[in-house]
């Protein structure tokens, strides 16, 4: 480096690069603060993107950086996949997209830990190894003075490998379930599942500890990655579709924490801060989703809902066969037209049918007739946190019409018609009335409090939780069978003909 001009050596100095990292993570935090309200959100996202650009630039400036061709190849591949994916994904498919992105991030973390092991694993557990890091901005700093890769580097690296691998495979399974490549129903080994999970966990921890304490075997490392992969599969496969919002959030947290661990191993502050923020975000959302479903995170991860839910659902189907009243689009239109207050309760069924625009048309028509319209949104409506809000925003529904559960529930009593579109479990009164129901205790939208209910649904098939919905057998409920989008459009057409 002695031959280089002064300016270059300043740009490549450790302090300058470190300052760039500090600027980068400050921009991440500032950007996320923008997300506290819709007005500053677009700008916030762009601020965070600028921070990311600076972090990447800083790393490329680091002394000893090389293999430019391969770096360009990797980035080109990433852009070629990422840009069209982001441009084309439908808003209904956001949960899959986020799951896939979680997995990709976890995969990157696991691969990085693996390459690190391939090149420095021989120094794990040893304090006498010769300096092996030729570059890497700050790891070098530690090693120059000690001559060995410190044990904590091995600990964080192994942690990153395990959690990254779990996150990669778990997320891919979640993606497969959401994309319906895999069945959404729980796939499990029954009562043996928890024992299998426990054995896998012990194996993966044993391999990790062995590696940290100096087992210089790449085979063992690969074995550890594979067992972690099996664990990721074993944990997510038994989880039913209804619990997906929790799983996605949890895997989001995992990927973030594994990135933070990579930052600890590589001594990179930008990675540490960004990873921890993502970890915090994922943890908060996981908690929020679990609370909204009245379920504990351990019980979801242990796969409790799956088996129990399906069995009880089958029993419920036997008990209930009350009468179901079905209605027509024209009757529904009349009922809605003469209401003073209508609450729309959208669920995932509305999303899959791409009916949000049709719903918006219907509510515009109702508003023109002086009907007061609002939307009641359950926290777990859709397949990920906040999903329904995005879909309705896409359809240009004004903010002040979107009501969160706690604000919506007291208002059902003075509602003339609740229009339930593709929502099922979140409206099931069994959550309040039937202690034996697997969803008992889950906070619901109290649709059955309203004067009348119209449910638009494809068929009488139970929802993702596999439970019969008592609401459909309520005398004041009318069922309009059909695809959400065409049913809503028919009502709108009938309404404008009135």
């Amino acid at each position: 480096m002695t031959g280089l001009p002064l300016a270059t050596s300043f740009l490549q100095s450790e302090s300058f690069i470190y300052v760039l990292y500090i600027v980068a993570f400050a921009l991440f935090i500032q950007g996320l603060r923008g997300l506290s309200g819709p007005t500053g959100a677009v700008r916030g996202n762009r601020i965070a993107a600028v921070g990311m650009g600076i972090a990447v630039l800083a790393t490329l400036l680091s002394p000893g950086e090389g293999n430019w061709g391969l770096i360009a190849l990797g980035i080109a591949l990433g852009v070629a996949v990422g840009v069209p994916a982001a441009r084309q994904v439908k808003m209904t498919a956001m949960p899959q997209m986020v799951a896939l992105f979680n997995g990709v991030g976890g995969g990157a973390v696991a691969i990085i830990a693996w390459v690190e092991f391939r090149n420095h694993g021989s120094t794990y557990g040893s304090h006498l190894a010769v300096r092996t890091f030729e570059s890497g901005p700050f790891v070098e700093h530690a090693i120059v003075h000690t001559g060995a890769l410190p044990t904590y580097v091995a600990i964080f690296s192994v942690f990153a490998a395990i959690v990254g691998s779990i996150s990669f495979w778990g997320s891919n399974i979640a993606f497969g379930k959401l994309q319906e490549i895999l069945p959404g129903r729980p796939i499990s080994l029954g009562s043996a599942q928890q024992i299998v999970n426990l054995v896998l966990l012990i194996l993966v921890l044993a391999a990790g500890i062995d590696l940290i304490s100096g087992a210089h075997s790449e085979l063992l490392f690969i074995g550890m990655l594979i067992v972690a992969a099996l664990l990721g599969n074993a944990v997510v496969l038994p989880i039913g579709g209804a619990d997906m919002p929790v799983v996605i959030s949890l895997l989001n947290a995992f990927t973030g924490l594994s990135a933070a661990a990579t930052g600890m191993a590589l001594n990179n502050p930008a990675l540490i801060v960004a990873g921890m923020i993502v970890g915090a975000s994922g943890s908060i959302l996981t908690n929020l989703m679990a609370t909204a479903m009245n379920r504990s995170i351990p019980s979801i991860v242990a796969g409790g809902f799956g088996g129990g839910g399906a069995v009880e659902g089958a029993e419920g189907a036997g008990e209930h066969h009350g009468t179901v009243r079905s209605t027509s689009a024209s009757d529904a239109a009349i009922q809605l037209a003469y209401a003073n207050r209508v609450v729309v309760v959208p669920g995932y069924g509305m999303a899959v049918a791409q009916a949000q625009h049709a719903v918006r048309e219907l509510t515009k028509e109702l508003e023109a007739r002086g009907v007061e319209v609002s939307y009641a949104i359950h926290p777990v409506a859709g397949r990920m946190p906040g999903h329904m809000n995005v879909l309705l925003a896409e359809a240009d529904v004004p903010y002040d019409q979107l009501k969160e559960m706690d604000d919506a529930n007291p208002e059902f009593q003075r509602t003339d018609v609740s229009l339930v579109i593709g929502a099922n479990d979140v409206t099931n009164p069994a959550a309040k009335n039937t202690p034996s129901s697997p969803i008992y205790g889950m906070p619901i939208l109290e649709v059955s409090d309203s004067r009348s209910v119209i449910v638009i649904k494809r068929s009488m098939n139970p929802g993702f939780a596999g439970i019969e919905n008592e609401l459909y057998f309520d005398p004041k409920t009318a069922m309009l069978f059909g695809d959400a989008k065409s049913a809503v459009s028919e009502i709108t057409a009938e309404l404008s003909a009135l």
């Binding site: 996320l32 997300l35 506290s36 819709p38 677009v42 996202n45 965070a48 993107a49 990311m52 680091s62 000893g64 090389g66 293999n67 391969l70 770096i71 990797g74 980035i75 591949l77 990433g78 996949v81 840009v83 982001a86 084309q88 439908k90 808003m91 956001m94 997209m97 986020v98 992105f101 979680n102 991030g105 990157a108 973390v109 691969i111 090149n119 030729e134 570059s135 890497g136 901005p137 530690a142 973030g256 001594n267 502050p269 990675l271 540490i272 801060v273 923020i277 915090a280 975000s281 994922g282 908060i284 990920m384 946190p385 906040g386 809000n389 925003a393 896409e394 240009d396 004004p398 903010y399």
Partner: protein, 120 residues
């Protein structure tokens, strides 16, 4: 001594970042939780840096290099895809406070139309 200070400094950053993360994220309303998740997707794309740093190592064998190309590609997918899709989503929210009276429908319809095209 120096070793301990590198580790402890980083641990301090780790813990403080966790607290800041909790404070900042707690303020994000339910409505924006999906964009938040895709935004954090983009931010954990920062693992790209790990791939870039390791590419600077001397004596990487071909297999390590191949692995790192994948890691860099994955990180880039996260960053580019995450920020773009978040931007797309937030843009739909941005137009929200305007149509209070509901009568500037023509401008809004044009917007919805173009979004619809991008989405299909």
């Amino acid at each position: 001594m120096i070793l301990a200070s590198v580790l402890t400094t980083n641990l301090a950053i780790l813990v403080l970042a966790g607290f800041i993360g909790f404070v900042v994220i707690s303020k994000v309303p339910n409505t924006l939780h999906t964009p938040l998740m895709s935004g954090t997707n983009a931010i954990h794309g920062i693992v790209l840096l790990g791939g870039l740093i390791l590419f600077g190592l001397a004596g990487l064998d071909a297999f390590s290099k191949a692995l790192l190309v994948i890691a860099v590609a994955f990180g880039t997918i996260n960053i580019v895809g995450g920020f773009l899709v978040t931007d797309r989503m937030l843009d739909m929210f941005k137009s929200r406070p305007k149509p209070r009276g509901g009568e500037d429908g023509s401008a809004d319809d044009g917007k919805a139309g173009s979004d619809g095209k991008a989405g299909s």
